[in-house]
């Protein structure tokens, strides 16, 4: 145990030393990201203009010739990925809503095995993570990386092959899960045979992004690029190692499971969301982020601390004490990178609140970025042993997971999609009011969802910790909160259908009615 205690101390000291070195390096200008580098996302004349264009009344697009050439090449793979992701979002939310309803209507749809709660819930998770979030995130990367590197996407056909393979694998994975063929671990349910296909598809997404990076026309890699480029290396490693069959078993398998599952959030979905926000917030507002040096602290802090938080899912379980403690400590250390990102993103938005009126996408992205801060603060506190004793094993955790994966990443991606679509198609949204309706449906729906589960889950946890109260109390008292969650979830699902409609309405060739011919903007 002494050696393990030393390992624990070692891990922490290494992380702190690395962080100290980074701060030293920044303050001594060893690495000198200055505000000048933050402007790499703007072209001459771009800065200082708000970039909207979703509504007919706002300023027309500010396409410059170089960049529209870049966008034209990215547009096709981005469109394919975005359409597929949107389909999975709607299907996945449907399964989410069904599982939510089943928790308070347990005899509803109980006649067939594929519709049992344990499978429907699993379908929801896998479809929204692999079908929706990963694909829309890859679409955002394919759109943004060529723009910040000032060069067109290389090998632009490869993502199309990747998308075909990826979606086939997600579909087959869903069919497998529905029919009871599963690897049986949370976040890793898709059978490993199909995971091979996902990994192959991932290769087809990675190569063009790496080739584009190597061909870049700018000296500096903008902060978004750090997150994206690290994410496309981290996720394949995590995915392949965690899915290796016949290697892991027993509790060791559980540590692999949570090392993977939390890193999907920390080293894949978070880089996608934070990277996207780091690009679009200053880009839309037309001003560089608040402090470019601080963004470096945010990125490396995330890498160092987030990568080691996974075992907080096994606190109080059959794992060595030191490894649970290690993850608790790193969870709390996450305050550092989160505050760094918060300083940059929220101050930039806060100083330019007027831009929220101008740009609907910015509303989604700024809201999502704010939720990143909230979810991370909550997560750090939730990992504390005393708090974890109450919240672990309850619906509170489910609420927290949705604050991260939904309110932060998903809502950021909605904004990204709404910003990219007019620039991909050269058309404006015909009904901007529906974008606004989408925003309010999901924000109100999510608020009901989140507060319902958080309050219900907390009370459930307190009931379970009190040995004088029978277990049944912890079930009965959650029922009204589970019903509230279904109401919130229904509003969110409705919002997603509206999103799908908005995406379809701008992407479909607009059939001109007999009397009115719509002229594409520009």
């Amino acid at each position: 145990m002494v050696t393990m205690g030393l390992l624990l101390a070692l891990s922490f000291v290494v992380s702190l030393l690395a962080l100290g070195f980074l701060i030293w390096a920044i303050s001594n200008k060893q690495v000198a990201p200055d505000q000048h580098d933050a402007r790499v996302i703007f072209d001459p004349g771009d800065e200082g203009h708000v970039e909207s264009g979703e509504t007919a009344t706002s300023r027309p697009y500010n396409f410059d010739t170089v960049r529209s050439g870049i966008d034209a090449i990215s547009a096709r793979p981005v469109a394919v990925l975005l359409i597929a992701a949107t389909v999975w979002l709607v299907v996945g939310s449907g399964f989410g809503l069904v599982s939510s309803l089943k928790l308070h209507l347990p005899d509803w749809l109980s006649d067939h095995a594929p519709l049992t709660f344990g499978r429907v819930r699993t379908l929801h998770l896998n479809l929204v993570i692999y079908g929706w979030l990963s694909q829309v995130g890859i679409a955002a990367m394919i759109w943004i990386l060529p723009r910040i590197f000032h060069t067109p996407l290389r090998a632009p056909r490869m993502p199309l092959i990747g998308a075909a393979l990826w979606n086939l694998a997600v579909l087959l994975g869903a069919l497998a899960i529905a029919n009871g063929w599963t690897d049986g671990e949370e976040w890793l349910e898709i059978p490993w045979q199909l995971d091979l296909m996902l990994a192959l598809a991932g290769f087809f997404f990675m190569v063009p992004l790496v080739k584009t990076t190597l061909a870049r026309q700018v000296h500096h890699i903008y902060v978004t690029g750090w997150y994206f480029l690290a994410g496309i290396l981290w996720f394949p490693c995590l995915f392949v190692i965690a899915n290796l069959p016949y290697v892991h078993s027993g509790v060791e398998e559980a540590t692999v499971n949570w090392w993977f599952a939390h890193n999907v959030l920390g080293l894949w979905l978070t880089p996608l969301g934070v990277g996207t926000a780091y690009y679009f917030i200053p880009k839309i507002i037309g001003k560089p982020i608040f402090s470019y040096s601080v963004s470096l602290l945010g990125f490396w802090g995330l890498a160092l601390f987030y990568s080691q938080v996974g075992i907080h899912h096994l606190i109080g379980g059959p794992v060595p004490t030191w490894v649970a403690t290690l993850s608790v400590v790193h969870s709390v250390m996450m305050f550092i990178p989160v505050i760094a990102v918060a300083i940059n993103q929220h101050i930039t938005v806060g100083r330019n609140l007027w831009a929220l009126k101008e740009s609907l996408p910015l509303r989604f992205i700024a809201f999502g970025a704010l939720m990143y801060t909230m979810a991370s603060f909550q997560g750090s506190i939730e990992a504390l042993r005393s708090v974890n004793s109450v919240t672990h094993f309850t619906h509170y955790t489910v609420g927290h997971a949705h604050l991260g994966a939904y309110a932060f990443v998903t809502i950021t991606m909605f904004g990204a999609a709404y910003h990219m679509l007019p620039r991909m198609t050269g058309r404006a949204f015909r009904w901007p009011a529906l974008i606004n309706a989408h925003f309010w449906l999901i924000v109100v729906g999510f608020a009901i969802y989140f507060f319902g589960l958080s309050i219900g889950g907390w009370l459930q946890g307190l009931a379970m910790l009190d040995g004088t109260r029978p277990f049944s109390e912890s079930v009965i008292l959650t029922k009204p909160y589970l019903e509230a969650r279904s109401v919130g979830g229904a509003l969110m699902t409705l919002g997603h259908i509206l999103f799908a409609f908005n995406v379809a309405s701008i992407l479909l060739p607009q059939r001109a009615p007999e009397t009115v011919r719509t002229v594409p903007a520009e």
């Binding site: 390992l7 499978r119 490693c237 109080g316 490894v323 094993f393």
Partner: protein
């Protein structure tokens, strides 16, 4: 931050370090050549039942990891002693779980040792607990006009029984029940058992 290669190498290095700390080091510490005395391997039927447990997704509502009395009253609820890593020697995929929408099941076989109880409960949980929100699994059973030889008939109160005929358990329901009954880690924890003792009161270390 102008070069791709250093960025990639440091990023992957950090992930490798995290893997060492979270996976490899605890894996080495927990590795055991032998199962603890008292833990039996699953029989063929129990293993089939375990596969059914995995495929139905029981994991999403039931944990299999009783906590220590210093942290939670799991023992008082009859869920068993705090589990140690060796208790899971034969388990793959692991089913430790992260939710207790329903109770912990690591020792359900010792707590509820009746096959008949489990069959009724799987067919319709509300036949036993009116407040239960567990899914019913009617598709693991068959309604027959009358029981044939070798059939296991499910005992049901009249309001949950079919209007005519009897409810008979399928092989899958019997397997699943066999697995649930096999869940019994009431043997003494091995001396060198590993678990998170982070809640042990200060000064009370072994």
């Amino acid at each position: 931050m102008n070069n791709y290669l250093p960025l990639s190498i440091i990023s992957l290095g950090i992930l490798a370090f995290a893997t060492l700390m979270l996976v490899i080091a605890p894996g080495i510490e927990m590795a055991r050549p032998e199962p603890p005395a008292g833990l039996q391997p699953y029989t063929v039927e129990e293993q089939r039942g375990r596969d059914a447990y995995v495929s139905m997704g029981c994991l999403y509502c039931h944990s299999q990891q009783p906590r220590a009395p210093e942290q939670a009253p799991d023992g008082e609820r009859g869920w068993g002693r705090p589990s140690v890593s060796a208790d899971y020697f034969y388990d793959s995929p692991h089913q430790l779980g992260t939710m207790r929408t329903g109770p912990d099941l690591l020792n359900v076989g010792a707590r509820l040792p009746s096959e008949s109880w489990h069959l009724t409960h799987l067919y319709q949980p509300r036949a036993i607990f009116e407040w239960s929100i567990m899914p019913a699994y009617p598709f693991l059973f068959e309604v027959k006009a009358e029981a044939e030889e070798g059939d296991v008939v499910v005992a049901l109160p009249p309001e949950f029984a079919p209007a005519e005929g009897v409810v008979v358990a399928s092989q899958e329901a019997l397997d699943l029940t066999a697995y649930l009954l096999s869940l019994d880690r009431t043997y003494p924890a091995p001396q060198d058992g590993i678990r998170d003792d982070g809640y042990r009161p200060r000064g009370d270390a072994e």
